[in-house]
């Protein structure tokens, strides 16, 4: 496909956009923000950042961004979702009341539960063993979702915390419950940049 520097977008409706942009640049990608379907044109990858999934879904709806992202993914654009991004990419959300009636991206064959660990008092940091990475990865979990169930054998678990999968990969989709963009360790962004460039 395309050689050279991969073009990666960051969905910029709401949330930790700048942090992902910085991490992707550090990983060698050319980065731009996306708020409209036409801005997906020419991207080899898109990061769906953390934020509030309810707010992002509502902002995306009037411009039809979620189906547009799903379509571009079908045409080969890689996806990397963190926290709210994982919720928006999951094919099923078990407590979806607040998201009902709004499109999500879908396609990642897992069931997730929002705010599964509790309130902000239960947010935590940890060191994770991640498949394919030599040293533990620092991870920040903030009102994080949990992967309750894996629905397809193609879904590969890259990391677990407290007995549940917290980083998964399926085809050209990568997703994490935690926030790799909030630490100085950009190895997951590196992995995604390589995925997008392939």
């Amino acid at each position: 496909m395309v050689s050279g520097t991969p073009q990666i977008g960051v969905l910029a409706l709401q949330g930790a956009v700048a942090e992902h942009a910085r991490a992707l640049q550090a990983a060698g990608a050319e980065v731009r923000t996306v708020r409209r379907p036409e801005e997906l044109e020419g991207l080899q990858g898109l990061v769906v950042p953390g934020g509030e999934s309810t707010a992002i879904a509502r902002l995306a709806a009037p411009v039809g961004l979620m189906p547009a992202i799903a379509q571009r993914h079908g045409e080969g654009m890689a996806l990397f979702g963190t926290c709210a991004g994982l919720i928006l990419m999951a094919s099923r959300v078990s407590d979806a009341e607040a998201l009902e009636g709004f499109d999500r991206i879908g396609g990642l064959d897992v069931v997730v539960r929002r705010n599964a660990y509790g309130s902000q008092l239960d947010s935590f940091t940890d060191q994770l063993d991640v498949q394919g990475l030599n040293d533990p990865l620092p991870a920040v979990f903030i009102r994080a979702p949990i992967v309750e169930q894996i629905l397809h054998p193609e879904v590969e678990v890259l990391a677990e915390a407290q007995g549940s999968p917290v980083a998964v990969r399926q085809g050209r989709m990568l997703a994490a419950s935690f926030h790799p963009e909030l630490t100085g360790d950009h190895r997951l962004h590196q992995l995604f940049t390589e995925m997008a460039g392939q």
Binding site: A12, L13, Q14, G15, A16, V17, A18, E19, R35, G50, G51, E52, T54, A55, R58, L59, P62, C83, A84, D95, E97, A98, R114, N115, G118, S119, Q120, L121, D122, S123, F124, T125, D126, Q127, V140, F141, I142, R143, A161, Q162, H179, L182, T183
Partner: protein, 303 residues
């Protein structure tokens, strides 16, 4: 900066990164004042990233007068149960027991707020003793840095709450931005004097000078009443917007809330702002800050 706890298997709660990190997740979003679970649901439905639970919105606190305090715990718990987005609640400046109660109720963020009557005219809460994160108001850089030193994980410019007059919010944001810009042009020996003048620790001042920004997220509050107000604050470099009385004191809260959310995301696109501003009905009535007698100006509370 905040009180950390380890659960024995390496995971840690209450860490500075998780508390400043939650504020990063709210960026580009709108946090709305709500006084009932029903209003909280309207806010979530409109796309708010968080709600601020309180008993009376600032415009009503202003109208009623008297001492304004932390809300009834029942009301706060009712709001926590009603929505899936983060819930913030206000404690009085210096009232560390109200903060302990709010932490016990498991709010996601505490606002140590000048909108309520101060409980201590000398000291703010020692926020480093808490696991729950705090947001604090500031009118200038020195005030922001003192709050961060005390453990605040997020700063909001104060503005003048309950007025619908955005001029004070503008003034405070411009002041903070200008003071940061000035620091970035200083040599290290000048920063010692700057730290003294800002009444803030040298290391923190040095960090702001080299980064060119606060080490925590900076939202704007106080007087935001229209989509254009919110977009202007975002164009001025705010990370997000608090809207207090502006939504539920207006003619059509549902439509206005959704319009302000959209204008905050597409803050640099006048076509979107024009479109969402159409037919919103009455904005909140509003008070000119210049007409307020000095004792009624809330932004002057806090030190």
């Amino acid at each position: 900066m905040t009180a950390e706890t380890s659960n024995g298997n390496g995971a840690q709660t209450g860490a500075t990164t998780v508390n400043t990190g939650l504020a990063h997740m709210l960026k580009g979003g709108v946090i709305m004042d709500v006084v009932t679970p029903e209003q909280a649901k309207i806010a979530e439905e409109a796309g708010a990233v968080a709600v601020m639970a309180l008993e009376r919105v600032p415009a009503d606190i202003r109208a009623t007068g008297g001492v304004a305090r932390m809300s009834d715990p029942d009301l706060i718990s009712g709001i926590i149960d009603a929505v899936s987005i983060p819930v913030m609640a206000k404690a009085r400046i210096g009232h560390f027991v109200e903060a302990q109660v709010l932490e016990h109720l498991k709010v996601d963020y505490i606002d140590e707020s000048e909108v309520l009557s101060p409980a201590d005219y000398t000291h703010h809460i020692d926020k480093s003793k808490f696991k729950v994160p705090f947001v604090c108001g500031a009118t200038n850089l020195g005030e922001a840095l003192r709050r961060i030193t005390e453990g605040a994980s997020m700063i909001r410019s104060k503005g003048e709450a309950g007025t619908g007059d955005v001029s004070e919010a503008m003034k405070h944001l411009r002041t903070i931005n200008a003071e940061i810009a000035k620091l970035t042009s200083m040599s290290e020996d000048e920063l010692y004097v700057a730290a003294k003048e800002l009444q803030a620790p040298f290391q923190l001042v040095k960090q702001v000078a080299s980064d060119g920004r606060l080490p925590v997220v900076l939202f704007v509050a106080g007087g935001v009443a229209t989509p254009a107000d919110a977009a202007m604050m975002m164009q001025m470099g705010a990370d997000g917007v608090f809207v207090g009385s502006g939504i539920f004191k207006s003619g059509n809260p549902e439509a206005r809330a959704a319009a302000i959310v959209k204008a905050t995301t597409y803050y640099d696109d006048p076509a979107v702002i024009a479109d969402v501003s159409k037919g919103l009905g009455e904005a909140m009535v509003g008070l000119n800050v210049s007409d307020l007698p000095a004792p009624h100006r809330l932004a002057e509370r806090g030190w």
